[in-house]
């Protein structure tokens, strides 16, 4: 029984990690006042580039780094369009996702069905072989720890550094930040690129660790869930982490339900496939209506273009 619970927990953490990467990245983007709906597209590009580079070079580190760069490159296109050319953020983000789906399928056409070794699990002698604690905490691959470290780092950056404070200020009021003399557009560029890089990492984790392979459209909506997670976590890294693990749990529940014939409830498996998405809609509805709405304040300038007058 204990072993089973450990197994479940581990699979939840692994299912949650791609969304955690992408959501923490998007959180930084949105705190700077930019809404990038292209997360799904950037994840896919990360997934295919991470897989391709790892397979051809044999170096997972190189693959992961390229995935981050590829995500950032796609984000750069978005940034140029919405920050420099003032295109509509929502429309551009949607287009970015569609573009990412197509481009990743094109790049990955030759990789479909190719095998690859999953990322190695870390093994720390002495702790990793402890009963329960060992498998629960110390037998993941490096990217799982990286995702948690990045979440903590982003939390610290936003709360305790001057640069983080400027970033929040830009998202609160671009107008005010500009009139005091902070470089609004530059801050937003950097935040958007960071968000792209993290989405790329999330994609790479998917194609290198969760299911070590490349399949067209393999993120299957995780980018959208990551976007929802940012709202669910009310733009705070700690809550986004919690939300990612809850959604990871729902995903795993769905897999088990499919395997066991609907948990004995005789429901068609499609119902369980819908679960994560239904949960997303439910969470978004609950927190955007209801009396606690005010406690989930979005950055005041979110999604608004800013054109400095000179």
């Amino acid at each position: 029984m204990m072993d089973f619970l450990v197994l479940i927990t581990v699979s939840v953490v692994i299912a949650a990690t791609p969304m955690l990467f992408a959501a923490v990245g998007e959180l930084v983007v949105e705190r700077s006042g930019v809404l990038n709906l292209g997360v799904e597209g950037m994840m896919l590009i990360g997934a295919v580039v991470g897989f391709g580079v790892t397979m051809t070079t044999g170096s997972a580190v190189l693959g992961i780094a390229s995935a981050a760069l590829a995500g950032a490159a796609l984000a750069l296109i978005f940034a140029v369009l919405v920050l420099t050319l003032m295109a509509n953020q929502v429309a551009t983000g949607l287009a970015l996702t569609i573009f990412g789906i197509g481009l990743s399928a094109l790049i990955g056409a030759g990789f479909v069905g190719m095998p690859i070794a999953a990322l190695p699990k870390l093994f720390i002698p002495g702790v990793s072989d402890l009963p329960v604690i060992g498998p629960l905490l110390f037998q993941y691959d490096a990217m799982v720890y990286l995702s948690i470290a990045l979440t903590v780092a982003v939390g610290w950056f936003l709360k305790s550094t001057h640069a983080g404070m400027v970033l929040r200020a830009v998202g609160e009021s671009a107008e005010s930040a500009h009139s005091i003399g902070h470089p609004v557009i530059r801050v937003r560029y950097l935040a958007t690129l960071f968000g792209g890089a993290l989405a790329g990492l999330g994609g790479a984790f998917l194609s290198l660790s969760v299911t070590p392979m490349w399949a067209e459209n393999m993120t299957s909506g995780r980018g959208w869930i990551a976007l929802a997670l940012v709202v669910f976590g009310s733009w705070r890294p700690g809550r986004v982490l919690l939300g990612a693990y809850i959604f990871g749990g729902v995903t795993i529940l769905q897999l088990h339900a499919q395997g066991s014939g609907g948990l004995g409830m005789g429901l068609p498996s499609q119902v369980f496939t819908m679960l994560p998405y239904l949960a997303t809609i439910a969470v978004l509805t609950i927190i955007s209506a209801g009396p606690w709405r005010g406690r989930f304040q979005a950055p005041a300038c979110l999604g608004q273009p800013f054109r400095p007058s000179v």
């Binding site: 001057h162 404070m165 400027v166 929040r168 200020a169 609160e172 009021s173 107008e175 005010s176 930040a177 500009h178 009139s179 005091i180 003399g181 902070h182 709405r293 005010g294 304040q297 950055p299 005041a300 007058s309 000179v310």
Partner: protein, 528 residues
């Protein structure tokens, strides 16, 4: 002060500053100078180019021509950092604050370099005490009153030990008591040798505070004077460039029948930082103009929406129009009964900026003016109605097909007020009728309101501008933290008494403002 012998250079001197925007010259060869410790007024109407000019001095905008001299030396002001490095501080008209962040963070963001947060917190408390501007560094901006928000801006400047402090329309949002306190601080600074550039169109304030005044009109310097000597009427005429028209005020009127009444109106705000209304009540008679004063964020938005019908209340009888309970009716049924409204926000609330003036007339007057009988829009009738508004209210526009956003603030406001008045309402509710409107347009709007009242309509004016309310209204009451004070006749109201009501509890200045609603004052209710 150095170079005492033989004329010290002025602290700031502008020579031939010109700034063009597409289609308009905002500043046309403007020049003047400010001496050390001098309080210099920059006087002019809305659109005279004052704000553009000070943004150039602060490095936010760049001049096309001309030079800025600082202590006699030409300087280039590429951005606000350079201005601050010279010792120029600025308090913006539209505050440059961040609602969701703390006082400490807001101040740190406006300082040079990366200040140590802990010692900064101590310095904020120290400086704010020394200048009589108490502040708690840990509070978030959206919980502060407007006066306190301004203190944050001032303290931010003071921490940089400024040699020149620019104040852009600082008193437009303050109670009379807060204004007195602000002037005390400014005089203290001036005595310490800090120059102050004070921008305003309120003449009495300039007489009270300033040593010298430069008057701008249409982007040009049209005069200079000593405001202690020059009469307010003289300055006003320089500023407007024409004879000041005197309003034809109505005489005292006999008590008339009540047309519009609000009784024990309770309304929970649906905004995150809104203010709930608590047992608001007042009555307005035929031909009466009733004023609702108060600092923004005290429930004005909620009250306007409750009166217009954007928010309905369960108890229909809490709002009555000619005796009929209308509290549960929406906007259109209330308008059908004769209740018209002019909300505060022109662009986006009263008018759709991207639509034509004709379409904007249709939106509001469709039923009362029968512009869309049986659901079909009559383009001719709509055009004709729009043209009538443009003509009767002297709106400067190319025609009914011009987009609403192409009009200047004052012209659009005249259009919107005209649109409602020409529907011959029984009751007109109007918020900030002349906010950001030049004096000529303001006088026209005031006159139109007088005429409407003369014909027997009841009018409710919600405004932050006390002078305006005293000019317009027969009686007024003050809205404070969602509660409406007892109404007083404007004829026997003193400015001080109203100011105290605005500041909160009777006979107390708001040292520590009450927490508004659940979470504090509205972030959505930005200060004009």
């Amino acid at each position: 002060m150095r170079n005492d012998a033989g004329g010290a250079p002025p602290r700031l001197e502008l020579r031939g500053i010109t700034k063009r925007f597409p289609g308009v010259v905002a500043n046309d060869a403007v020049g003047f100078s400010v001496g050390p410790g001098e309080i210099h007024a920059l006087l002019g109407e809305n659109g005279a180019g004052k704000s553009t000019l000070v943004k150039i001095i602060y490095g936010v905008l760049h001049a096309d021509e001309g030079e800025v001299l600082w202590n006699g030396q030409a300087v280039s002001l590429a951005n606000p950092h350079e201005a601050r490095r010279l010792g120029i501080g600025m308090v913006f008209q539209h505050f440059s604050l961040f609602d969701g962040m703390t006082v400490l963070e807001n101040i740190a963001l406006g300082l040079e370099g990366k200040p140590d947060m802990r010692s900064l917190s101590g310095r904020i408390v120290e400086v704010s005490k020394a200048y009589g501007l108490p502040l708690d560094p840990r509070r978030e901006i959206h919980t502060l009153s407007v006066g306190e928000r301004q203190r944050v801006e001032i303290v931010r400047c003071l921490l940089q030990d400024p040699k020149l402090l620019i104040m852009d329309e600082p008193t437009s949002v303050l109670t009379p008591q807060e204004v007195e306190r602000l002037f005390g601080t400014l005089r203290m600074l001036s005595a310490e040798g800090c120059s102050i550039l004070y921008i305003s169109h309120k003449l009495q304030e300039i007489k009270d505070l300033c040593d010298h005044a430069t008057i701008l009109r249409g982007g040009k310097v049209v005069g200079e004077c000593d405001p202690k000597v020059e009469s307010t009427r003289g300055m006003a005429q320089l500023m407007i460039g024409a004879e000041l028209k005197t309003l034809s005020r109505r005489g005292a009127r006999p008590k008339a029948a009540t047309r519009f009444s609000v009784e024990a109106l309770d309304l929970a705000s649906d905004e995150p930082f809104g203010t709930s209304l608590k047992r608001v009540g007042f009555e307005v008679g035929a031909g009466e103009i009733f004023g609702i004063a108060g600092v923004a964020g005290n429930g004005q938005n909620e009250l306007m929406r409750a009166l217009s019908g954007e928010l309905t209340v369960a108890t229909a009888s809490s709002i009555r129009l000619d005796g009929k309970p209308v509290g549960n009716l929406g906007v259109e049924p209330r308008r059908a009964l004769g209740l018209c409204c002019v909300p505060e926000e022109r662009n986006g609330h009263a008018a759709v900026p991207d639509m034509s003036l004709a379409s904007n007339a249709l939106i509001s007057a469709r039923n009362r003016m029968k512009l869309a009988a049986k659901g079909w829009i009559s383009r001719d009738a709509t055009r004709a109605f729009a043209e009538r508004i443009i003509q009767e209210f002297g709106v400067k526009a190319r025609g009914p097909e011009s987009a609403a956003r192409s009009l200047s603030g004052g012209n659009l406001q005249k259009y919107i007020v005209g649109r409602e008045i020409l529907q011959t309402p029984e009751v007109l509710v109007i918020a900030q009728p002349t906010w950001g409107v030049d004096a000529g347009a303001a006088a026209a709007i005031h006159q139109a309101l007088f005429n409407l009242a003369q014909n027997g309509a009841a009018i409710v004016v919600v405004s932050q501008d006390l002078d305006e309310l005293l000019t317009l209204c027969d009686r007024l009451a003050v809205l404070n933290v969602g509660t409406l004070s007892k109404a007083i006749a404007t004829a026997d109201a003193s400015l001080e008494e109203i100011g105290l009501l605005m500041g909160g509890l009777h006979g107390m200045t708001p040292e520590v403002p009450a927490v508004h609603g659940e979470l504090g004052q509205g972030s959505g209710q930005h200060v004009a």
